[in-house]
Symmetry: C2
Subunit: 199 residues, 2 copies
């Protein structure tokens, strides 16, 4: 009550549950929004309502879209024979920002995990294998995170596709562009050394 | 377009302008909201719209409220003779959380600044002085931040109230509770030493 109205308190509590925000930053955000209540806050509220109503997952690849099939899956300029498998929509966005891939995607929505009881069906891996069989795919790029979970999931998919004659590839591991050896972890240095190439 | 629909892009751009969020964290927040679009996002949108429509500044003290006069200014249990002057509503909330003050507030909405051309009128200081003359105030606590700007503003208000017979006080400066000398800045240590007291 003393912290403004109940609605403001509820708004702060809801904001504080967003990733990267805590109670203090949620209070700062809400105070700024209240200061700009006619502009920024009204705009945010309207946009959120529209996005909440219109967003859904692309029926083909799992990307977020406001149609049944996303802009990437319906773009005739993009190669249909290459599928890039990613864990999350955020990873798809990162690859699109890099602009280096001109094929199609498949979003798993997570990684295999015995502990959390996430199996191949939960990640739509059977659907991916169906899609690969149906669509005449020549290459599947497993762009999963370089974590234990990501690599376990990549190996599972590679095993499931063995014998299909499709090229299964993964992202190269090594020193990031601009990376300084002194600041890199041992695993990255070892991987970069093992995968060394002629200049 | 590749990052989801235009609405999603606009939502990310708007979120990225909130204090404490940047483009990367705005993307993470929006992705989580889209995952919880039926629950968290719809709730947030509705609350924001209500808060944007109903919030305003208390006509007496400047606190944020959904009525003309805030809950603190209308609370008969709170002392009318003590006014605590703060820079910002966030500071008022911090004092209320501490629960140590049972009087009324006055929110300046900033500090005096010759550089940014913020004068006493912009901060409602004449209104504060009127209010003090009208309301039979016995003590004005200048709870401004311990920054150069905060202390300049405090001195200006103290000067303006000189000769009124009202007690003008400021927050004590010293070692914070739980503070370790080794981690404190020199200014705080000097201030705590100058203001030392018998135990």
């Amino acid at each position: 009550m003393t912290d403004g109205s109940d609605d403001i308190q509820a708004l702060i509590a809801l904001m504080a549950r967003l990733p990267g925000l805590g109670p203090r930053s949620a209070r700062r955000v809400v105070l700024q929004l209240i200061r700009r209540r006619g502009g920024q806050m009204a705009q945010l509220a309207a946009l959120m309502e529209r996005v909440a109503q219109n967003s859904r997952e692309c029926l083909t690849c799992g990307n977020i879209t406001d149609r049944d099939t996303c802009a990437i899956c319906t773009d005739p300029a993009r190669a249909t024979g290459e599928i890039c498998v990613v864990e999350d929509v955020a990873d798809l966005w990162a690859l699109e920002r890099a602009g280096a891939f001109r094929g199609r995607y498949h979003v798993l929505g997570g990684t295999l995990s015995a502990l959390d009881e996430i199996g191949p069906e939960d990640l739509g891996i059977p659907a991916l294998i169906d899609r690969i069989a149906r669509d005449r795919i020549s290459e599947v790029i497993l762009a999963l995170n370089a974590t234990v979970e990501g690599q376990t999931t990549a190996h599972y998919i590679a095993d499931a596709l063995e014998g299909s004659g499709i090229a299964i590839t993964g992202l190269a591991q090594g020193v990031p562009i601009g990376g300084e050896l002194d600041y890199l972890d041992d695993g990255t240095i070892s991987a970069a050394l093992r995968a060394r190439r002629r200049i």
